[in-house]
Amino acid sequence: MQTNPHVRVHDLSVSYGSTPALNRISVDIPEKQITAVIGPSGCGKSTLLRAMNRLLENSDGVSLSGSILIDNENIYDPGRDVTEIRKKMGLLSQKPYPLPMSIFENVAYGPRIHGMKKKNEMAETVRHYLTISGLWEEVKDRLHEPASRLSIGQQQRLCLARGLAVEPEIILADEPTSALDPKSSQKIEAEFKHLKNRYTIIIVTHILRQARRLADYVLFMYLGELVEHGPAAQIFENPQHEMTKEYIRGIIS
C-alpha cells in the first residue's frame, strides 16, 4: 500500500540551546494513513511533531535547520504565514487543553478565527465535528457549559473536534491517550481509525501495542536519531536495525 508522501521532512536538526534534540532527520510521511512515531521517552518525538507545527519558534534558544515540506511547500520558507500552516494541521496534545470557554465555543473558536460569521453555519459546523469526534450525543444538551466540566476523556475528544473544525489535512497527536482511562483511549483510537481515510495522521506513542493496532507506517527514533522507518508490518515483523529489534522486543524502553 504505497501512497504519495504528504509531509516530507528533509535533513531536520533541532537543538534547545546547545542540547541537540533532533539530528538530521529525513523521512517521507504517507498521505491519508496513520504514521506512528515510536521510541523511548526523550528521544525527540514531541520535538519532531512540534517542528511540523512550527511551535518550536515560540520558545527562546531553539535553533532549527533543514526543511519540512507539506504539499511540496517548505513550511519554514521565510514569508510564509505561520497561521496558514498551522491551520492545515490539528494538534492533539498529551493532556487535553480545553480553551477557557464553553463546549460550543471551543469548537467554534477555529472557524471563527478564520472568518466564519453566520450563526447557523457555525451551529452546523459545531454539530458536525462534535458528531465526528463521537461527542455529540454526550454533550448536545449542555453545549454552553464550560468545557472544563467535561471528563478528561471527553475533553480530549473535544480537542479533536476543535482541531478538525479548522478543516486540517493532517492530524498531529502527541501521546493523545496517555492521560486517559482505557475506555476513553479506545474511543480515541477508534476515532483515528475512522478518520484515516480523510486525514494524514501522525501519532506519537510510547505504547507499542497502540502503534501495532493503529499504524500503517512507523518511525522509530532513538536519542534524536531516526533509526528506522517503514511500513508497520516491516518494522514490527522484520526490523533491520539491532536497536529497533531490541525496542520492539522490549529490551530498551
Partner: protein, 285 residues
Amino acid sequence: MRSSFNKFEEAVFRFLMIVSTLVVLGCLFLIIGTVLFKGIGSMDLDMITRTPQGGYYLGKEGGVLNAIVGSIVLTSSATAIAFLASLPVVLYINIYAGKNSRFAELIRLSLDFLWGIPSIVYGAFGFIIMVYFGISASLLGGIITVALFILPIMARAMDEVISLVPVELVEASFSLGSTRIETASRVVLRQTLPGIISAILLAFGRGIGDAASVLFTSGFSDRIPLSLTQPAATLPLAIFFQLGTPFPEVQERAYASAFILTIIILIVSISARLLAARFRRHTIQ
C-alpha cells in the same frame, strides 16, 4: 484568512504594548534621573557632614547629618528586630509546621495582609502602642513602628527563599539524626544565606524610605539622637519638611536630601538584587 482589520488591530495593540512598557520604564528613569539631577546641584559636603545649625530652615548653614544618622540608626535597629522576629516565623512555618501545611498557609496569608496595610496605619498603630506604654515620640517609638512595618516584607521575602529548599534536603538532614532546629540552622540557613541577606536588605530599603510610619512616632530633632528616648530625625521627613518651607534655599536642600536617600536606596536595592541573583545560581532546585 486574516482580514486586514485583524492585522490592523494586532498592529495597534503591539504598538500600545511597546509604548506602555516604555512609559513604565521611562517613568523609572525619569524619576531617578530628575531626583539625581536636581539633587546633585544642591549637594555639598556640609549636607552630609553637619547637622542643622541655627536658622537652617530659613536658609542658614548646616546639613542633614542628623537625618542621615537618624535614618540609618533607626532603620538598622528596626531591621535587626524585624529579623529576630521573622526568622523564627519563617523557620517555624517551613520546617516545623511543613511548608505546605495549612498553618503555614494561614501565616503567609496574614503576612500578606500585613504587607498590604498602609504605612500611615502602622504609624497610627505605633502611636497607640506608645501612648499605651507611655513612650513619647522618640527613636524607640520609630524603631518599634518601622520594625512592625517591615516585618511582613522581610518575612515574606525570606519565606520565598526558604520554601525553595527542596524537601529532600530537609528530610535527608532529619534522617541523619538532626533535630529540626539543627536542620534549620545548619542546613537550611546555610543553603539560603545570600537570599536571606537579600531579604534583609529589601526590608531595610523599604524601612529607610518610609516617612508615614515615623511621622507620629520618631519625632524630629536637629541633633543626632544619643539615646533611645530622644527624638530622631529621618531622611524622608527631612525631605518633606524642607520641601514644605517657603524658602528656595531650603527646598534646594530637600532636593539634596532626596539625592542622598535615592543613592542609599539604589545601593541597597542593587546589592539585594546581586545577592539574589547569586543565590539563584548556587542552590539546587
